[in-house]
């Protein structure tokens, strides 16, 4: 049993069986993380570089922790403090790192498709840790893991993806994954932040009314407003966004059922999520972060163990 792919570039390339294998392996790693010694020797002969061309707290630390818990050796690269600042190209940088006998590359880049480009030119296995507005596959997987943990199954689960869908690689990975696993999806947010042809492209339903989405769903995955990717204003002000599309405690209290609130982080408190929602009983945001390590361990373990 193994993955059908050599790299994890996106959920788009995975089969349903791949996703199931990753999630079930992550389940076992989650148990490992509860032990007195939270570490296994599986990847002690593997060296992994974390190549971050874009800022990150959670993803980078989560990957690094996952690598160390698997006993892999790790190298960290941040573009701002490296020779990339002197103009070295991505491919040159990676080839130089690989010549030091590095086996795997975990990379984040602001350009969509950067890991796909790299995969065509280097022999090492690549894990996409977020590329531009394309995909963030390990986030999609850890969201699915957290939903399954809370709700039992993804089959038939009603998931609302709310907020800045346009600029969100998290949304894209979630949609690919949930569709493959048989969940139902509604995307909600301001018309300027929902891609025009998303219904045709992904087969998801669209609403511009957040309350309507909340009433329909079992799980609401709320996205961060990505101001750094918006070249022109797409809504009038953050305050107005919060009033029309932000999720408040009073909205959850009006529902006749208990829904689950998720967020990939970092949260803009008081914009897409109010603090009493983010820290409230509906929220599993910190569980998502906890599960992230186990899911990334599973991905690295399954990709490193390919015979070749």
């Amino acid at each position: 049993m193994k993955l059908s792919t050599r790299h994890l570039l996106g959920i788009k390339d995975l089969t349903k069986e791949d996703i199931e294998l990753i999630l079930s392996t992550a389940q076992q790693f989650k148990e490992v993380l509860q032990r007195p010694v939270k570490k296994v020797p599986s990847l002690r002969d593997v060296t992994i570089v974390n190549l971050f061309y874009e800022n990150s707290t959670r993803t980078r630390m989560s990957f690094e922790l996952a690598e160390r818990r698997l006993s892999a050796d790790t190298l960290n690269f941040a573009a701002s403090t490296s020779s990339a600042a002197k103009g070295e190209t991505l491919l040159d940088t990676v080839n130089n790192i690989l010549s030091m006998k590095v086996d795997m590359v975990v990379m984040r880049h602001s350009a969509s498709g950067a890991p796909h480009f790299l995969a065509q030119h280097i022999p090492a296995a690549i894990v996409n840790a977020g590329d531009g507005i394309n995909e963030h596959p390990t986030q999609g997987l850890l969201d699915a893991f957290s939903m399954t943990e809370k709700k039992g199954t993804l089959e038939g689960l009603k998931v609302a993806i709310i907020g800045d869908v346009m600029h969100s690689r998290v949304a894209q990975s979630n949609i690919y994954l949930l569709k493959k696993m048989g969940a139902e999806i509604v995307v909600a947010g301001p018309p300027t932040l929902i891609p025009k042809y998303i219904k045709e492209a992904h087969g998801v339903n669209v609403t511009y009314n957040v309350m309507e989405a909340l009433q329909w769903c079992d799980v609401a995955n709320v996205l961060r407003i990505q101001l750094e990717r918006q070249n022109q204003p797409l809504f009038s002000s953050l305050r107005e966004y919060n009033l029309a599309y932000g999720i408040k405690r009073s909205m959850l209290d009006k529902l006749d059922k208990e829904i689950v609130i998720m967020h990939p982080g970092p949260i803009n408190r008081g914009v897409e999520l109010d603090s009493d929602v983010a820290d409230g009983p509906h929220s599993i945001i910190l569980n998502q972060v906890e599960n992230g390590v186990a899911v990334r361990m599973a991905v690295l373990y399954l990709l490193a163990n390919r015979e070749n």
Partner: protein
């Protein structure tokens, strides 16, 4: 080995464990996933007829992430379930077949990540002696057999294969 012989061996192994660890006062039983569980389940069932069930501490250990051949073949990980401390306990590890000793080496490494046991013993249904690749031996053995490396020992269980028996092919 026929079904009756397997059942008798399980009974004997259970009594031998109990003989050395009266009432299992400071002793825990750990089965190795996946196939050692069939043996350990039966031994634990047998133990329950001999001592108070609440005295039996029984866990399951998966060793997939500790294997030394991960690069050769990817094995599916099974559930590890040890909901008690093994610190300063006598641990009896149970597996179906002892062959090269590599599984038990991995199991010892995995076990030590849960704490420092006072003593670790090994119980197996079948011991294929003369084919060890590591200096490991079993303390409780159902049956010792001499085999060629090319031969296979197939252990069948009712739950999975419809019948309890051991066949050499």
């Amino acid at each position: 080995m026929s079904e009756q012989q397997v059942a008798l061996s399980i009974k004997r192994l259970t009594h031998k464990i109990l003989e050395n660890h009266l009432e299992l006062d400071n002793t825990v039983i750990i089965g190795i996933q996946p196939r050692g569980i069939y043996v350990s389940d039966r031994i634990v069932d047998e133990l329950k007829t001999l001592i108070a069930p609440e005295k039996i501490k029984y866990g399951k250990l998966d060793i997939t992430f500790y294997r030394d051949d991960v690069r050769k073949e990817l094995k599916i990980a099974n559930k590890t379930d040890i909901n008690f401390s093994i610190e300063n306990k006598n641990v009896v590890i149970i597996d179906d077949v002892l062959w090269t000793g590599r599984t038990i080496r991995a199991a010892l490494d995995a076990l030590l990540d849960f704490g420092r046991p006072a003593k670790v013993e090994l119980c197996v249904l079948i011991d294929r002696r003369f084919s060890r690749e590591l200096p490991i031996h079993a303390d409780y053995v159902g049956r010792t057999i001499d085999t060629f490396p090319s031969q296979k020992v197939l252990v069948h269980w009712k739950e999975k294969d419809g019948v309890d028996d051991v066949v050499l092919v």
